[in-house]
């Protein structure tokens, strides 16, 4: 698993998730502090709305949303983060490479 560091979930643009998939990621974890515990007050509230709309749009377009995990993990929850990452990596490994999406990328010039 590779890590992309941003100051707040509010900063996470859905286009970043698209780029991750575009670069061949088979699974994506989008995570940050719990609502109400945001150090920037409302970053994660906006993120939550964005993710709700984004998830539905991706489902409508047929993207396999089992590969994208959204989760609230605070800085104090080291153990829970480790457990989440292990669970998600196992789950994505079980799903295998995202061939459907790879074909769309493959057809492109990159």
């Amino acid at each position: 698993m590779r890590v992309l560091r941003v100051p707040c979930t509010g900063r996470i643009d859905y286009m970043m998730v698209l780029k991750a998939l575009h670069k061949g990621a088979d699974g994506v974890i989008v995570s940050g502090c719990h609502p109400n515990d945001c150090h920037y007050t409302s970053g994660n509230y906006h993120a939550r709305r964005r993710w709700m709309v984004f998830k539905k749009m991706m489902e409508v377009m047929g993207v396999d949303m089992r590969r994208i995990t959204f989760s609230w993990v605070s800085a104090a929850e080291g153990a829970r983060w480790a457990q989440l990452v292990n669970e998600v990596t196992d789950q994505v490994r079980a799903l295998g490479p995202y061939t459907e999406f790879r074909q769309v990328i493959g057809a492109g010039i990159e």
């Binding site: 859905y14 698209l18 709305r49 993710w51 539905k56 749009m57 047929g62 959204f70 989760s71 010039i109």
Partner: protein, 266 residues
């Protein structure tokens, strides 16, 4: 239709407006937008079921703004688009004389609050055909939906007609034109088309007035309007907010409630 022409003539002659924007006969049964700058050109205006395009897309163009005050023959979709554009500060209040045409009746509105009250009278209804298509999409499973859109989007050649016909896509420098960084690949290959339509849908979620012009504009007949209308309905379902209903900006993705309910975030 006479009442509209009559009122437009008065406004033009008194110099209140510099032009009247309405519909005129196009080739065959089509209708096209028509700018009448003198009284003489008014008689070309027509108003019937075939007039469906959303004329609001023109009012944000610099050339039209330079004309000064313009009268617009506004179907409900156009009214909603104009109100949303005012909420997003693209149109100054009072810069348009809106001739609201609701199934025959004409009403003149010239302020955002008047427009808001007028729109509140009638509930916004999604037309049956789109509703059915959205239901079909909902009924498919993930694999089928993926195949459906891959087939449809494979015809997309990135002509951007859907973007250019949409009244809400008024940005001078669109993200699609941005190349540092080039978030969305410009080429019309698989990934380029997929990401373009995904991002366009996200940009319209909570801002689309569901006029359906994008679907009509697509030269290769991709039902792209289903994506944006679907996203708008999702936003309404999730947050109860809708585009083109309030003079003051009430955009779902820049507001929040501390207890927004969802079930997928672990």
């Amino acid at each position: 239709m006479e009442a509209v022409i009559q009122r437009a003539k008065e406004l033009l002659e008194q110099g209140e407006v510099k032009a009247v924007l309405g519909y005129a006969k196009g080739t065959g049964s089509a209708r096209r937008p028509h700018f009448a700058r003198q009284a003489g050109q008014l008689d070309k205006l027509v108003m019937d079921e075939a007039c469906v395009q959303n004329l609001a897309v023109y009012v944000t163009k610099h050339e039209v703004k330079k004309l000064g005050k313009v009268a617009v023959v506004a179907l409900p979709v156009t009214q909603r688009a104009i109100l949303q554009l005012m909420a997003e500060r693209q149109l100054r209040d009072g810069s348009l004389a809106i001739l609201a045409v609701d199934d025959g009746a004409v009403k003149e509105l010239d302020s955002a609050s008047a427009l808001e009250e007028h729109l509140a009278l009638k509930a916004q209804v999604l037309n049956a055909k789109d509703k059915a298509s959205l239901a079909d999409l909902e009924a498919m499973d993930q694999g089928q939906r993926w195949a459906y859109w891959q087939k449809e989007l494979s015809r997309c050649m990135k002509c951007y007609a859907c973007r250019n016909t949409c009244p809400m896509c008024y940005c001078d420098h669109c993200t699609m034109d941005c190349n540092r960084p080039q978030w969305v690949p410009v080429a019309s290959h698989g990934i380029g088309n997929l990401e373009y339509h995904m991002v366009r849908t996200m940009h319209l979620a909570g801002r689309c007035v569901e006029c359906g012009d994008c679907g009509r504009a697509c030269p290769v007949g991709i039902p792209v309007h289903l994506l944006t209308i679907g996203a708008e309905e999702t936003v309404h379902e999730l947050f109860g907010q809708r585009a083109g209903h309030k003079a003051k900006l009430d955009y779902a993705l820049s507001t929040f409630k501390t207890d927004d309910k969802e079930s997928f975030i672990r």
